[in-house]
């Protein structure tokens, strides 16, 4: 049996909707298989993984808390990937954003003012943007591969945070725990509703997604992103600069990742500590692709991936599997999304038997 592809005349509208759904279905099926192999009842396991967390108010709040950074980061990444700039260091930009945003509450905790919080958010965005500017600078100036440099910067950022929280910024009254002082109330991102912990970051995420969607759909800048991503040459003829696009897309996604970082620290954690993210920056890559690099799609996929985090935690308690299952699920989703996306651009035909001789080549 062989698989043969035939290019469609134009991208299939039907399959661009069906493909993510198909991918999720396949993920669920292989998830069931996985649980079966672990010796669990697959239906019960899937139920407690994907349905249980949706049934209680507090866990819906947790869902929003986890979806917010994923959506924020993924929306920025979608602009990068559409313009062919492969920023995979969002985790590092998230970390640096969190650090820069924490400068005020950690270093001048005595300054109580309503200006603190907006300044923190701005500094977080600035920090993330500048950190993403490093691979942008290296790519435009020295022609280095942004995939590798942005990833290396993740390790550097995490080690820097580790040093800060164990060294320079460690709370002297913190019983030797590696963490900074707790943020003062005016430095904490307020909660949205009375009923739970969800805070303003989910609002930032939704606003960012809609804004970027508007830019990509209705503004010249969005067109520029798409054209340069499809063909740099065509973009040059239209007078667009690929160099400036590198800067724009990297710094935009860096700023959003930085905002996600400081929102997470300010809203959910309340201080800096060596580990502030369960891999949001990397999971956001999956979110971006599952959302088909469309900001509105990313909102939906952000909630799906947030659910895998929650489900992992829930399944740990209810069916006794480890939280590592979450990472497996997330990896599987991306795989199935990428394979199902083939259906959008190509007709796939299965050919049984040897086939004609001519076709057997390659």
């Amino acid at each position: 049996m062989r698989i043969e592809l035939e290019r469609r005349a134009s991208a299939s509208g039907l399959f661009s909707v069906v493909s993510p759904i198909l991918a999720l279905t396949l993920t669920l099926l292989s998830g069931a298989l996985l649980f079966l192999m672990l010796g669990k009842d697959p239906l019960h396991a899937l139920y407690s993984f994907f349905i249980d967390p949706l049934l209680e108010v507090w866990s819906l709040h947790e869902l929003a808390i986890k979806a917010a950074p994923l959506i924020l980061i993924a929306v920025g990444l979608s602009v990068c990937y559409r313009s062919n700039n492969w920023n995979i260091g969002a985790e590092g930009q998230f970390t640096i954003g969190a650090i820069c945003g924490s400068i005020l509450p950690v270093m001048v905790p005595q300054w109580h003012s309503p200006m603190v919080l907006p300044l923190m958010l701005l500094m977080g965005m600035l920090g993330g943007a500048l950190y993403a500017g490093i691979p942008a600078l290296l790519k435009t100036r020295f022609n280095t591969n942004e995939i590798l440099t942005s990833l290396m910067l993740v390790y550097i950022a995490q080690l820097f945070l580790d040093w800060l929280t164990r060294g320079l910024w460690r709370d002297p009254k913190g019983f030797n725990f590696p963490q900074t002082v707790s943020f003062a109330p005016e430095a904490v991102l307020p909660e949205l509703l009375e009923s739970g912990r969800a805070h303003w970051s989910i609002v930032f995420a939704l606003v960012a997604a809609v804004a970027i969607w508007f830019m990509m759909r209705f503004m010249l800048k969005g067109f520029e992103v798409t054209v340069l991503g499809r063909s740099e040459r065509a973009g040059r003829f239209a007078g667009f600069s690929a160099r400036r696009m590198v800067w724009f897309s990297m710094m935009l996604s860096g700023a959003l990742a930085g905002l996600a970082g400081i929102s997470e620290v300010s809203g959910s954690i309340g201080h800096l500590q060596p580990s502030i993210s369960p891999g949001y920056g990397f999971t956001a890559i999956i979110v971006a692709f599952l959302g088909r690099l469309n900001p509105l799609g990313i909102i939906a996929s952000g909630f799906v991936l947030a659910l895998t985090y929650l489900g992992g935690e829930a399944a740990q308690l209810s069916i006794g599997v480890s939280d590592k299952v979450t990472r497996v699920f997330q990896g599987l989703i991306l795989f199935f999304v990428l394979s199902c996306d083939t259906l959008i651009l190509y007709r796939v035909r299965l050919i049984f038997g040897a086939g004609r001789n001519v076709e057997a080549r390659s």
Binding site: I88, Y155, R166, V325, T326, Q330, G331, F335, L338
Partner: protein, 304 residues
């Protein structure tokens, strides 16, 4: 003391060299597999499992190689048969590998592993200074050297190697000449996977003979950078691998000596050096363009 440091440098450099030379072959065939980190960690966990369950570390090495190669097939299927985006699929391979290896290796955490025994060449290993360094190592070291020599010979002295380079530089023309583009690329991807798996096996059987989650710690990515550093030439991979290995080991020794720099900053060194090296290598656009396989990362659908 000096010899001991050199010995650890060799051990640290070996996985980098092996993984990088495998990726070099994959990239020479025009396929960019960013999943080295994932294949490496899968190789590490498979090798540990094989060695632990059979009690024979050599079988563990074999399991690592097979595990890496099998895992790379997933990448091959997506990018070669389904023509998915290579960058995204490579990332997917890494993310899935990290998750899957954590799941598989969960029951191995904390179990002391069996170290792969060195193969000592009599007489030769008695040569002062270099004897123990070069002739009393474990099998992965010998394999790493053999791989460099073999890959160099294959790429530049053999007909199949020439065809493979042709595919990497212009898959359309190669296809028109009747060279099996997709089939060759499958083999190249699997070779890369097998090498990454072997590198992982070295990590969990030689470097630190135990299973630790995420124990590849970015080495797969450094191997990818090494391929760029080597401008797709096997011998330079060897040189680069040892430079990176040396940086990694020397910063550890500096930490132990306590030279007044926080350990975190020293731990950053290998990653920072990678960035600096990439800058130095890539800043000349023209030479980069000449060295890079022209079809690297480009999708190929055979027309009929």
């Amino acid at each position: 003391m000096f010899e001991a440091i050199l010995l650890t440098i060799v051990t640290a450099a070996t996985p980098l060299v092996i993984a990088a030379v495998g990726e070099l072959v994959t990239e020479r065939a025009g396929v960019l597999n960013l999943g080295v980190e994932g294949m490496m960690i899968m190789g590490a966990v498979c090798a540990f499992a094989g060695s632990y369950l059979t009690g024979v570390p050599l079988l563990g090495v074999l399991c690592g190689i097979l595990g890496g190669a099998a895992f790379s097939l997933l990448f091959g299927f997506l990018t070669l048969t389904l023509v998915a985006n290579q960058v995204a699929t490579g990332l997917a391979l890494t993310l899935l590998g990290l998750g899957l290896s954590g799941q598989i290796g969960e029951s191995f955490v904390g179990i002391p592993g069996v170290k792969l025994q060195p193969i000592v060449f009599p007489i030769l290993s008695d040569i002062p200074f270099i004897g123990r360094l070069l002739f009393a190592q474990d099998i992965t070291f010998y394999l790493s050297i053999a791989l460099i020599i073999g890959v160099h010979w294959f790429l530049f002295k053999s007909r199949t190697g020439l065809k493979m380079r042709a595919i990497g530089d212009n898959h359309g023309s190669a296809h028109a000449l009747g060279i099996h583009v997709v089939r060759t690329r499958y083999l190249a991807v699997m070779f890369g996977g097998a090498c990454a798996g072997l590198a992982g096996a070295q990590l969990s059987l030689v470097y630190t003979p135990q299973w630790v989650e995420n124990m590849a710690a970015g080495r797969g990515w450094i191997a990818l950078a090494l391929v760029v550093f080597a401008s797709w030439r096997p011998w330079r991979v060897l040189a680069g691998g040892y430079i990176f290995g040396a940086v990694g080991i020397l910063q550890l020794h500096a930490q132990a000596l306590g030279i007044g720099v926080p350990s975190q900053f020293l731990s950053m060194l290998p990653y920072a050096v990678t960035i600096v090296v990439l800058i130095v290598i890539s800043h000349n656009r023209r030479t980069t363009l000449i060295n890079t396989p022209a079809c690297l990362g480009k999708p190929f659908v055979p027309d009929r």
